[in-house]
């Protein structure tokens, strides 16, 4: 964004290439840590860099990465959303309940109609959660932490109420189509979920960096008041951001349930911490005003590589948990290099 301009100042030199843009961001340093980690993991386990495993990793991190993109938006505005895990379960459950209901009611006006209606219902329910969060936070000015902790509990409770704790399964005439668009692979290698992720990430990158809306999101995170005073519709942007975050979680819920072939009521329990951690590791700052799409994805990959790598390296499972924590801290430690270099 910040282009160097015609105007010259005697005491301003040229910024070196590693002093600005992506290379000076936390994401870049975490990316470096990730590459080191991948090298180590591939030395520890010969199966790590096999095609099958890479495809697994790609799919696994796409499961949380779309939600992480949404979370990153929320974090940039200085908020937090603890309800994403529950929202993942909600959209998965609603989608499969509606598929079953349509099957039961024998309502199938045209091929794909059952799928379409269920997806709209699933995503719509997720969007409602986001709308609730957004309204409570922007209009009633409640603390994002408490509000979304409340919805975490409310939404999970509703999933249990709706299913009586039993898992539900996508079914009906469009089940195959459902599986194809969620768990399918392009050209037999690339999980479609990864494709969705890339599309979402590109859209988000463009929106954040090349639209007025994106600048407003950043401005709100750094100085909400400044945004308000310059006529930015702060409340609307906040509500949008929470709705987008919940929608992203909803998309992830549908993808996961397609892959599992099931929507267990405890799906994605405690995922919120992982998702927030991925966003923060990727450079989003919980104080607001900083974050990006690339970082979010890098954060997700890092977390998945640690998890998968440790299993493949046959590390004692009790030690795995300890190592996951240690490696996460070590990965962000790399970012300190940046601050010490850029002064």
């Amino acid at each position: 964004m910040a282009q160097t301009h015609a105007q010259t100042f005697t005491n301003v030199g040229q910024t070196r290439f590693w002093q600005h843009g992506f290379l000076a961001s936390q994401s870049a340093y975490v990316l470096a840590a990730l590459i080191v980690l991948i090298v180590i993991m591939s030395m520890l386990s010969p199966n790590f860099l096999t095609g099958g495993n890479i495809s697994n990793i790609t799919r696994n991190f796409s499961f949380i990465a779309i939600a992480t993109l949404g979370m990153t938006l929320v974090i940039i505005t200085g908020g937090i959303d603890l309800s994403v895990g529950s929202t993942i379960a909600l959209s998965a459950t609603v989608t499969s309940l509606v598929m079953n209901a349509l099957l039961g009611a024998n309502f199938y006006p045209f091929p794909g109609s059952a799928l379409l209606i269920s997806l709209v219902a699933g995503l719509g329910s997720a969007a409602l959660v986001g709308l609730f969060n957004g309204l409570a936070i922007a209009k009633l000015k409640l603390s994002p932490f408490v509000t979304t902790l409340g919805t975490l509990s409310m939404v999970r409770g509703l999933v249990y109420v709706a299913t009586q704790g039993r898992g539900t399964f996508p079914a009906g005439p469009d089940k195959d189509m459902f599986l194809a668009i969620t768990a399918g692979k392009l050209f037999d290698v690339l999980p479609v979920s990864f494709l969705y992720l890339i599309i979402c990430a590109v859209v988000m990158w463009v929106a954040l960096n090349h639209t007025a809306w994106g600048k407003h999101v950043f401005a709100i995170g750094s100085n909400e008041n400044a945004g308000r005073l310059t006529g930015v519709n702060v409340d609307r942007v906040k509500i949008q951001v929470y709705v987008l975050c919940s929608l992203a979680a909803g998309v992830n819920g549908i993808i996961i349930s397609g892959w599992l072939g099931s929507a267990p009521a405890n799906l994605a329990t405690a995922y919120e911490l992982t998702i927030i951690a991925a966003a923060v590791i990727g450079g989003a700052n919980l104080a607001g005003g900083v974050g990006g799409a690339a970082g979010a994805i890098i954060g997700c990959i890092l977390i998945e590589v640690i998890r998968n790598g440790l299993v493949l390296a046959r590390v004692d499972p009790y030690w795995q948990q300890t190592l996951v924590g240690a490696i996460i801290v070590a990965a962000v430690l790399v970012d300190r290099l940046r601050s010490s270099r850029n002064g």
């Binding site: 964004m1 910040a2 282009q3 301009h5 105007q7 639209t211 600048k215 400044a226 006529g231």
Partner: protein
């Protein structure tokens, strides 16, 4: 017809009565100085006019038609621009992005509208050059000096065709040369028919550009007179309370 008319405006914060029963009016193209001791209520008054606070009592009329300014966004749409004392800048955006915040320049591509980064940077650089300020449009506000930040806040008011510009101590942090430019700017605004309310603690500046001066003391208006009929000494006495009213 007055551009802005305040009638009996009062504002209380808990036990603090920041403004009591303030009334005055501003004509189009008039430059009015607003002076007073620290904590006299000047900034509070500005915030009421620009829609941040709602008065506890009293009413406000702008351009004859509007009885209320509900929000800063609305004030902007009505043609009220403000340089806030705390500058209201987003630290993680560049100077240009701050200037254009809320009214970005966009390019339509199909149904989408994308930012015109270089056009905005160029325009911002122009504005800084006009203010003779050593501020780089592409720098992040986070790393700017006090005066550079103030230049950004001033430049912001130059984007649109305002009818009234409120300047809350716009020259506090800027250097000699830019102070002269800001005073120049106020002269030009006046010629263009734009009204300005200038808050400043610098007596000479107020006497150089304003036609009228309003003096506040502990929340009440103690004087409202033409510059021609007053003197720096009198205003100082009014500010400190040595003279009760005029």
């Amino acid at each position: 017809m007055a551009l802005l008319e305040l009638k009996g405006v009062t504002k209380e914060f808990g036990a603090i009565r920041a403004l009591s029963d303030v009334s005055f009016s501003i004509q189009p193209g008039e430059v009015v100085g607003l002076m007073g001791d620290n904590g006299a209520g000047k900034s509070t008054l500005v915030k009421i006019i620009s829609g941040i606070y709602q008065p506890t009592a009293g009413s406000l009329e702008f351009d004859g038609t509007h009885a209320q300014v509900g929000s800063p966004g609305e004030a902007r749409r009505l043609g009220i621009e403000t340089v806030y004392q705390d500058l209201a800048l987003a630290d993680n955006l560049t100077a240009a992005e701050n200037i254009f915040l809320g009214r970005e320049m966009k390019r339509q591509v199909g149904p989408f509208r994308f930012l015109r980064h270089s056009a905005m940077n160029a325009r911002a650089a122009e504005l800084f050059a006009e203010l003779k300020s050593e501020t780089r449009a592409g720098d992040y506000v986070r790393q700017m000096s006090g005066g550079q930040r103030q230049a950004v806040a001033i430049a912001r008011t130059r984007l649109s065709d305002a009818k009234l510009i409120l300047m809350d101590e716009p020259t506090a942090a800027i250097s000699v040369r830019q102070v002269a430019e800001v005073l120049n700017l106020i002269h030009r605004l006046k010629e263009a028919g734009i009204a300005v309310i200038l808050i400043s603690h610098r007596m000479p500046d107020v006497f150089a550009v304003c036609e009228r001066v309003i003096v506040m003391r502990r929340g009440t208006k103690v004087a409202d007179k033409a510059i021609a009929h007053s003197s720096p000494e009198e205003v100082t006495a009014l500010i400190t309370g040595a003279k009760e009213a005029a």
